[in-house]
Every structure is written in structure tokens, then in C-alpha cells.
Point group: C2
Chain length 121, copies 2
DNA sequence: CAGCATCCTATGCGATACTG
DNA sequence: CAGTATCGCATAGGATGCTG
């Protein structure tokens, strides 16, 4: 058993899951990986279906866990940009592979999807 | 948008998450990866904290999604073994990396954990 | 624009007991 | 031994409106 931040994990895989588990975090990390830097609104618009609550919540947790960082560009109007930290970039193999595996799966099963150039390159 | 089994996904990462998302699937896959073949009871005992309901449910879904397969060894007494399918093995980079990243994180932060030889090698 | 507060629902997940 | 059924809770997640 591993104890970390008052939570217990059963193995290292579990620890990693503690950081990127849930419906949105890996998607957010992947998109920041792809676009390098993104405003709040840009992330939101790139993740169809995410609610503002979930987005701000997940961003805050990712920031707390030091996987992403935030710059305040201008105070008025308030503008920010999010980007991956070194720690967040170290997870690149994970979300890159997840993306590639997904693409391969779709191809293998002849499932069409709208190949958005920005999203999937 | 990608439609697959009556569910919609926003990008390939999301598709992959559809197969391995949740609290247990990646752990199950990783353990089967490590131990090659495992009975129901062995998997259960290697995943401290999992309930029988979750285990059987997740195993069924993984089987349905063709990431694992099951052999019935003997009918009486009923004995089975689970193991990764080719498709399940193709996810190896994902759970292997998740494990390595977790280990690296623990080391980096000087967090002790009981290094069970069987579980973590 | 960024992002929190509130309220609400769905469901993931756990505990326990039971069956072939 | 390998599961399934039932129950119930906790929390993940969604919709909407408000604030600096």
C-alpha cells in the first residue's frame, strides 16, 4: 500500500491514475500537448461537452498536481494561458499513445470520424 | 464526433479512454500483463480493495471489448484463467508506462511503498 | 474573458449475501 | 471456485446563473 496526500494506492499504476484519472484530465493534457498554449475558452471549445464547472475544476487539480501551469497575460481584460509543466510533459508517452491507439482502433474497425486537422493532425 | 457502440467520443484519446477508463481496468490489464494468466481469485487478491461486483463487472466488460480472454480449465470444480488478448497486449505501452511513471514519481518524491516482488518486480 | 457557486442527476463503486 | 443479485452511498459530472 502506498500513501500519498491522504489517499492510498495499491500500486504505481494506481498512483498514476490518481493524477490522470477521470473523464477529462487526459484529454486536457493531450490538447495542451498539441496546442502548446491555450486560453480557458480555447480549451473549453476544443473539448466538446465539457461543462465549465468540470473544466475549471480539472484545471485547478492539474495545476495543484503541477502537471500544468498558468500565465496571466493581461489583468484587464483578464486573459490567461495554460500550458504543460515539465512534469506534465513527462506524461506525453501516455496521452500520445492513447491517441495513436484510438486512431488505430478506429481505422481497424472502419469507423469514420471527422478528421479535424487541428485536433488530430 | 465519433460514434461507437451507441456512445459518442470527442477524439481518439476519448475512444481509448472508453476501453480502459475507470478505477480498475488498467490495473487489471497491468496485472494480467505481469502474471500472464490468472484465476478470478488471484486477480481479486492482487487488487486490494476491489469488490467482487466490480471485478466480475470489469472482467466482463474487458471480455466484451475483447481486451482479455477466458479459458475454462475444469468444469468441476469450476476453474478458469484470464489472460490478455492480442488487442489487450497492444495496450501494453500504456499500462507499462503508467507503472513506470508512478514508480518514478514515488522515487522522485521519496515516498516509500512496500515493494512487493510479485507486484512490482 | 475567466471562472466560481449552486443545485441536481447519474452512476461508479462498495458491502453483503447468495447461487451453480 | 467463480461468479451474480441487491442495496445503498459517495462522488463524478452536468446545467445554469452569477462575479471580478
Amino acid at each position: 500500500m502506498i500513501t500519498l496526500n491522504d489517499k492510498t494506492y495499491t500500486c504505481p499504476v494506481d498512483v498514476t491514475l490518481g493524477f490522470i484519472g477521470g473523464k477529462w484530465k487526459l484529454l486536457i493534457l493531450f490538447h495542451l500537448h498539441y496546442f502548446t498554449k491555450k486560453s480557458y475558452a480555447e480549451i473549453r471549445d476544443n473539448l466538446p461537452g465539457i461543462s465549465e464547472k468540470m473544466l475549471s475544476q480539472q484545471l485547478k487539480e492539474l495545476e495543484r498536481d503541477q502537471l500544468i501551469e498558468k500565465n496571466v497575460i493581461t489583468k484587464k481584460p483578464y486573459r490567461v494561458e495554460y500550458y504543460l509543466s515539465t512534469e506534465g510533459k513527462s506524461l506525453a508517452p501516455l496521452y500520445e499513445f492513447a491517441s495513436e491507439w484510438g486512431i488505430a482502433y478506429l481505422k481497424k474497425h472502419d469507423i469514420d470520424y471527422i478528421q479535424d486537422q487541428h485536433l488530430y493532425k
